[in-house]
Symmetry: C2
Subunit: 116 residues, 2 copies
């Protein structure tokens, strides 16, 4: 997740349509939308909530299925999206995978919002 400036400098100033020169470019908008899409699911928000409240050493995937009343494949699917989006880190220990928050990941999203 990057926090690139939302407002692009323009070499051509047009006094009558200032908003047009400030539009978020398409590529950056796509990247940011992908981040928000990872958060746009109630089960993924609940998973983040559990992991955030859990041990700093990580929360075992075996403790994530019961509170959500979802099957292991569904939980794993949502966890993969959260890992790919940079919110969660995954560490395999023996049989189980443990998930922990990526430090600063939520802060980066808030900066993205404020930088819109």
């Amino acid at each position: 997740m990057t926090t690139a400036p939302a407002l692009e400098d323009s070499t051509e100033q047009d006094c009558c349509t200032p908003a047009v020169t400030s539009v978020l470019d398409a590529q950056t908008a796509h990247q940011r939308a992908r981040t928000f899409k990872a958060l746009a699911d109630p089960n993924r928000l609940r998973l983040l909530s559990i992991v955030k409240a859990g041990s700093l050493n990580g929360t075992c995937v075996c403790d994530l299925t019961e509170p959500l009343e979802l099957g292991q494949p569904t939980v794993s699917h949502h966890l993969k999206i959260l890992v790919d989006a940079g919110f969660l880190a995954r560490e395999k220990r023996g049989t189980w995978a443990f998930y922990s928050m990526v430090p600063g990941a939520l802060d980066a999203v808030t900066e993205t919002l404020l930088g819109l």
Copy 2:
């Protein structure tokens, strides 16, 4: 958009599964996911960016189609989602509708993130 506490108090403390008692409840998770879903689209992020950078008196819908290279119906569809999610306010003046940021709306999302 509310900023209800993410961590629910539990009357039953279970030392072995602390994360379970902290899970975001399903209803709150659904509400928050809907907010993030409104942000999970590149065109909506670009619209927010333009309106945020525009006049405090609002940006005419007639100035929102060209920078996004989208048709009026598509832009209106996205604007309605942003209004319904509480990010934009809509004011009709004569023929045109003008859109402005709802004060504090983005701040409320950042509080939601930090309160996960």
